[in-house]
C-alpha cells in the first residue's frame, strides 16, 4: 500500500503507489496529476473537479476514503493550495488530494457535507488563509471570534511588526542597562 514509508528522498522521485492508478480508474474523465510524496500519493486536481473527486473518493468502493484526516492550506505565493489528507478505515490506505486556486479568487467548494470534520477545518483555513468555501453552512472565524481582517498564514503577512516591537523593547532595555 501507499503508506509504506519510502526511505528515498523525494528528490530522486520514488515510484508512484498503486493508489494513483486507482484514482485514475475511478475518475476516468477528470484531469489529474499524481506525485509520490514521502509517504502518501498526492493527487492534484482542478478546482472545478474537486467536488466530483471528493464524492467519488468517499463513495467509490475501490477508494472508500471515509475519513478526512486533515485539511491544510498552503500559500505558494502565486497560488493558494488546499491539501486534503484522506484515509480509509475500511481499506487502510491514505492519499492526499490537492487543489489550487488563485489568491485573488480563493473560492472552493466545501466538503463539509461529505465529512463533518471538514466543518471546523474549513473554517480555520478560511480564517487563516482567506479561502471561501462555497456552500459551507457557517463560515465564521473560529480561532479569532471577531475576525482579524487579514490572513495571518499567508506568506504576504509578515512577522515584521512583532520583530520591530522586539527590537524596540531590547533597545530600551539596553539603554536602561547602559545608564
Amino acid at each position: 500500500m501507499a503508506q509504506e514509508p519510502s526511505q528515498e528522498t523525494t528528490a530522486t522521485g520514488p515510484a508512484l503507489g498503486p493508489l494513483a492508478g486507482l484514482f485514475q480508474e475511478a475518475l476516468s474523465g477528470v484531469q489529474m496529476t499524481a506525485e509520490q510524496t514521502a509517504i502518501d500519493v498526492a493527487i492534484t486536481v482542478r478546482r472545478e473537479d474537486l467536488l466530483q473527486v471528493m464524492k467519488t473518493a468517499k463513495e467509490d468502493e475501490r477508494l472508500a476514503f471515509d475519513f478526512l484526516r486533515c485539511l491544510s492550506g498552503v500559500d505558494h505565493l502565486d497560488e493558494l493550495e488546499v491539501v486534503y489528507h484522506l484515509y480509509s478505515y475500511k481499506l487502510g490506505h491514505s492519499a492526499a488530494v490537492k487543489v489550487r486556486c488563485p489568491p485573488d479568487d480563493p473560492h472552493l467548494p466545501t466538503v463539509s457535507h461529505l465529512w463533518q470534520t471538514a466543518n471546523w477545518h474549513e473554517r480555520e483555513a478560511a480564517e487563516l488563509f482567506g479561502f471561501i468555501f462555497d456552500g459551507h453552512p457557517d463560515l465564521r472565524p473560529l480561532l479569532t471570534e471577531e475576525g482579524l481582517g487579514y490572513y495571518i498564514l499567508r506568506k504576504t503577512h509578515p512577522l515584521a511588526e512583532i520583530e520591530e516591537w522586539q527590537e524596540d523593547y531590547l533597545k530600551a532595555a539596553e539603554e536602561k542597562g547602559g545608564e
Binding site: Q116, P137, D138
Partner: protein
Amino acid sequence: MIADNPWVDGLARMGIIAVAIPLAVIVLTYVERKVLGRLQMRLGPMRVGPYGTLQSVADTIKLLTKEDLRPQTADRWTFELAPFVVVMPVFLAFVTLPFTADLFVRNLELGLFFIVAVSGVSIVGFVMAGWGSDNKYALLGGARAAAQLISYEIPLVMAVLAVAMFGQSLNLVELVEGQGRVPFVVWQPLAFLIFLVAGLAELYRQPFDIPVAESEVVGGPLVEYSGIRWSMFQMAEVANMVLISVLASLLFLGGWNWPLGEEVGAGLQVVLIFVKTSMFILVFMWLRGTLPRLRIDQMMAFCWQVLLPFAFLQIIINGWVLVYGWPDWVLGVLSGMAALAAGYLTYRMAWRAAEPVLPRLHRVGSVP
C-alpha cells in the same frame, strides 16, 4: 444549672453555644483539611503555626477583614440578608440540642420537632442567595439547592419520626434516656441509614454537593459572596454538619449513654457524645474525599424512589410492631431486611441509570 436565676442561666448557656459553635467551626475546618490531605497523600496545611494548626485562624481573620463585595446588579436586601437566613436556623437548632443530660440551653418538650422545623428555613436563604446574586450560576445553584434540600427534608423527617414513634417522645433528652441499654440503631437500621443519607444531602456535601458543584456551577449560590458573608455560609455548612452528627448520635447511637446501659458521670458523657459525633463527622469527611457527585435527576430519583418509600416502610413496620406489641427484635430484623433491600435497589438503580441511551449524534440538525 449554671445559675439560679433562669434568665441568667439561659443567657449563660446561650453564650456558651454562641462561642462554642464558631470555635468548633474553626477547628473542624482545620481537621477537614488535614483529613482530606491525608487521604489524598498530602500533608494538608503545614505553614501557619505548628503543623498548620493556626491556618484556619488565619483564614478567619483574612475572611473577616476582606472586602464585602456586592455585585452592582444584585438585589441588595435579598443578597445581603441571605447569609443570615442561612446561618440563623442552625444556631436556633442548637438551642434545644442536648449534648449531655445537663448541657443544653432549653430542654423543649417538642425539641425534635423544633429542630426539624427550624432547620428547614435555611433553604430560603439559599434561594435568596441564588436569586439575589443576579448570576446565572447562582440561579442554577439556587434552584438546585431548593429542589435538593426540600426533597431530602422529607425522608429526613420521616426517619426522625420513626425514632420518635419508637421512643414515644419528641423530647431529645427523653429519647436518649429511652435508649439506655440498646441504642435505636439496632432496632431501626433502616431509619438510621435513611437519616445518614438524607443528612448528607442536607449538608450538600459529596456525593450530594450538587447545589455548590465546583466544576459545574462554580459554587452555586455562593459564587458572588466574599469575605464575611461567604464565611457565614461556610460556618452554616460546618455547624450544620455538627448538628446532623450530634443528632444522629443522639437519636440512633444512644447519645451520652454507655452502650450497655451503665450510668456514667457528666464528664464521661461529654467524652462519649464527643466520640460518637466525631465518628460521624469523620465519615462525612471521608465520603467527601471518596465519592464523586451525582447528577441532579439521579439524586432526585434516589430520594423519591428509594429513600422516601423506605422511610414510609420503616414507619409502617414501626406501626405494626407498636400496635400489635411484638417484641423489639422483630422490628430490628424487619428493618434490617428492609435496609438490605434498599441497598440492593440502589445498586440496581445505579446500573439501570447507566443503560445506554440512543446516540444523539444524528438527531441534531444544525451544525456547530
